[in-house]
């Protein structure tokens, strides 16, 4: 058993290594509960996939996080285990998955749910404070633009961000590799790109890009 990030462990189970977060809460999306751990399933959560692909971000327990595209809260539930002394502002614009999300937000004390459109950050800038970390998983054509807008508005200088990019939603006709190169380049124009890589085999035609905001 090895702790790779605060409250994130690689545990052994039936001879296999699996990713899990230490949590005093129950299962949220059907994941297994193993003692005090909740299994973190990489095919369900792109953040878990990124970690299992070997890119580990040292998320601090007291970080303030802005999470764009919270959906039903699969990834947020684990992130909430990690930042157990911090706060997650979770934005989602679609009401349906948020019903499930609200159950999570009711039980966790460090989640602030916001039913808002991430492409209009000025509508919630009187609610969300300056954050240490922005995570975005929105499969939308203008997702880069949305990422920039929220970084400008909310990310502290020196703060970090992770964006999950789906090739097909940016350009469905071009080759994924071409799209990814373009995206990384575009992000690099305004931000420091710390790392990027594919999420295969967990998520097809997806990459993560890890960035930092410099002055």
């Amino acid at each position: 058993m090895k702790e790779i990030i605060h409250n994130v462990f690689i545990i052994e189970r039936e001879g296999k290594e699996i990713l899990a977060t230490k949590s005093k809460y129950g299962s949220h999306y059907g994941e297994r509960k193993i003692g005090e751990f909740r299994e973190w399933i990489p095919s369900r959560s792109k953040l878990a996939a990124m970690i299992l692909k070997g890119h580990i971000i040292d998320i601090k327990p007291d970080w303030k996080v802005l999470y764009l595209g919270a959906a039903s809260g699969t990834t947020v539930s684990h992130l909430a285990d990690i930042v157990d002394e911090g706060i997650i502002y979770a934005v989602e614009y679609s009401a349906k998955p948020f019903v499930k999300f609200l159950q999570l937000a009711e039980e966790r004390r460090n989640i602030i749910p916001l039913l808002e459109d991430a492409s209009t950050p000025w509508k919630y800038n009187g609610i969300v404070e300056k954050v240490d970390f922005i995570y975005q998983d929105i499969a939308q054509k203008n997702q880069i633009e949305i990422f920039f807008a929220n970084i400008d508005m909310f990310l502290k200088d020196g703060g970090e961000g992770v964006i999950m990019v789906k090739a097909r939603s940016i350009d469905s006709t071009a080759e994924p590799e071409v799209v990814f190169d373009r995206v990384v380049e575009e992000l690099g124009e305004k931000l420091e790109v710390l790392a990027h890589g594919s999420l295969e085999p967990f998520h097809k035609d997806h990459i993560y890009v890890h960035v930092r905001k410099t002055k």
């Binding site: 959906a71 349906k96 937000a105 039913l115 800038n125 009187g126 609610i127 404070e129």
Partner: protein
């Protein structure tokens, strides 16, 4: 300067920031919008009106949960009804615009006057309204039925919703029904003929015919495509109704099926198809090898 924040207002007086707590936190939370990023950090200033950071976050969370739950409930209840009504209004609007334009043309053939100018302006206004309604329908349908929209596009998704009557009803329709939604008339005609023992064909597609994946295929393949697409749309409607999250694989499988069907015809005439560049648009390619 003054900023709207979730707990009320922050004003700048003599170079100092002063927090003012509102009496109605739900209301101030809903109006916490500012054109620019705030030049201060919220919890720090908030401490002026809250006992502690703990108190600050506890209150924020409570209000956020309350406002968000209400918003979620409201959206779920009304949105599909809203799209359907907008769509019906849009149809009427289209009719009106066409009719009015026709009348205007008649008048203008006789005489152009200030009145006809005014008339034309009003029609232009209606056209702007039409564009706005179309945009609204697209926005809402993408939100309440992301999977249907991803596969079929906003227009067809909204039409399917209208024909079914609600997202709930659409979610419970079998694929075979979705396939012919909008072609009821010809379906019942065919069924009636069959009942009388006469030969008849049931329609291959209803509304979904206007989808480019079906329309651009040669006739003999449209049925297969329509059947496949309808099956995926049936799954999409269920996903949208019960889960509301986008599943990328669905639309992807429809696209693959289309590619597959499109390529299929090239087999008998290998030489000809080899000469054409692969990337070419389906439309142009289609017409050449018209065998069978």
């Amino acid at each position: 300067m003054k900023w709207n924040v979730w707990f009320g207002e922050v004003v700048e007086e003599d170079g100092k920031l002063i927090a003012k707590k509102s009496n109605d936190l739900v209301e101030s939370f809903k109006n916490a919008s500012n054109p620019e990023a705030l030049p201060f950090n919220l919890p720090e200033v908030g401490l002026q009106v809250f006992e502690s950071l703990e108190d600050y976050y506890k209150t924020l969370r409570k209000i956020a949960l309350k406002v968000t739950s209400e918003k979620v409930e409201r959206e779920l209840k009304r949105e599909d009804r809203y799209v359907i009504l907008l769509l019906k209004a849009l149809d009427k609007l289209n009719e009106s615009i066409n009719m009015l334009e026709e009348k205007l043309r008649d008048i203008e053939e006789v005489k152009i006057s200030d009145t006809t100018e005014d008339f034309r302006e009003r029609i232009e206004e209606l056209k702007r309204l039409r564009r706005r309604i179309e945009k609204e329908i697209e926005d809402v349908i993408t939100k309440i039925a992301p999977n249907l929209t991803e596969i079929a596009g906003a227009v067809i998704a909204a039409r399917l919703l209208e024909k079914a009557g609600s997202l709930e009803r659409l979610a419970f329709l079998p694929a075979s029904k979705i396939q012919i939604l909008g072609a009821e008339k010809s379906l019942y005609k065919a069924l009636a003929r069959m009942r009388r023992g006469k030969p008849a064909k049931t329609p291959k597609h209803g509304i979904i015919f206007i989808h480019p994946f079906i329309r651009t295929l040669p006739k003999r393949k449209r049925g297969r495509m329509a059947r496949f697409m309808a099956a995926k749309l049936a799954i999409a409607a269920k996903l949208d109704y019960f889960k509301g999250e986008l599943d990328e694989n669905l639309a992807e499988s429809v696209r693959k099926k289309y590619e597959e069907l499109r390529r299929e015809k090239d087999k008998p005439k290998k030489e000809e198809s080899k000469q054409e560049p692969k990337e070419e648009k389906p439309k142009k390619k289609k017409k050449k090898p018209k065998h069978r």
